[in-house]
Amino acid sequence: MCDTCGCNLTPGNAHLVDKKTVDVLSGLLDENDHVAAHNREHFERHGVLAVNLMSSPGSGKTSLLEATIEALGGEMKFAVVEGDLETENDAERIRAHGVPAVQITTGQACHLDAHMVHDALHGMDLDGIDVLFIENVGNLVCPASFDLGHHANVILLSVTEGDDKPAKYPVMFRAADLVLLSKADFLDVIDDFDTQKAERHLRELANAAPVLCTSVRRPDSLESWFAWLRETAAALRGGAGMTPGSRPASPAPHAEP
């Protein structure tokens, strides 16, 4: 019997130990959410729309950013935070277009969190920037759980991945404010991706987010995405309060291949 490991406690004397239960009722992600709120205030002070891009690896997030920068670079100013486990490759691709980019290498971490984005912002001047893209780590599971302080979640689902992804990864797709069915030019040659089925799976998550078919190889297909971006950035500048996953109540436009 000793006072170190608790073996001197018996059912007979346990009530003598000073023990109490405290009710806490706080969110497990409160620490992250606090920093996220700080990031969001920082963006709003600069009039910057922050968009969190999420998808599987290889769905075309960086290619979409490159095409967007090329098409809209004359009318909007962009900045990019890139998240990957390793390499500066994506940030270098963005910088090659004359857009400031900070690469976060997460090591083994499978997602970005608000602290990582906060640290990245120290290396970034947001004056004059209209839209900050945060390209999350390619992963349909973990990134959905962390508020980064952004305003909207844009989720890419490439048509080579399968139209049932929203049903398989409900937490991620439920958080979408916009879903882009990327690499849609492949719809001409694959017959097992049904855009309407993908949209139905999204609706079954009670999500009214617009679903758009896009391909960076077909510039015309990106017009609806550009329109969404212009409207959302203008709404933020107009003072509309915005948090990710705040979905409109009415049904949204349909996917048209």
Binding site: V22, S145, P170, L205, A206
Partner: protein, 114 residues
């Protein structure tokens, strides 16, 4: 495996609350983790055995309460349980529903000893 990140954040909260209450030992931690929280209770339990090392909760038990997933229909007013990937009204089958229960990710309570 973001459960370890979540658990490390939990341990920082637990250490702070224990210090605020002047407790030397945390013997039990109770969480509520809803089915739509994005957190897997089993993985959280595994992560906890790593994250608790060297903290005031190094010998603590972790109780994870599951809870149910409940939706409320904006169209017909119906209400009831749903599956995480089929958030449909149990009465009319519509998808214009709000999740009223099931997204919780909460630290409910802690047992403290001086």
């Amino acid at each position: 495996m973001h459960e370890l990140s979540v658990c490390q954040g939990l341990m920082r909260q637990v250490e702070r609350i224990a210090a605020e209450n002047g407790a030397q030992i945390v013997s039990k931690i109770v969480l509520k983790v809803g089915p739509l929280s994005g957190i897997e209770p089993d993985l959280l339990q595994h992560a906890f055995t790593i994250a608790r090392e060297g903290t005031v909760a190094s010998g603590a038990e972790l109780e994870v309460q599951g809870g149910q997933l409940v939706v409320h229909c904006r169209e017909c007013g119906g209400s009831g349980e749903a599956a995480p990937n089929r958030l449909l009204c149990p009465d009319c089958g519509g998808w214009q529903v709000d999740v009223t229960e099931g997204e919780e990710l909460l630290l409910m309570s802690m047992d403290l000893e001086e």
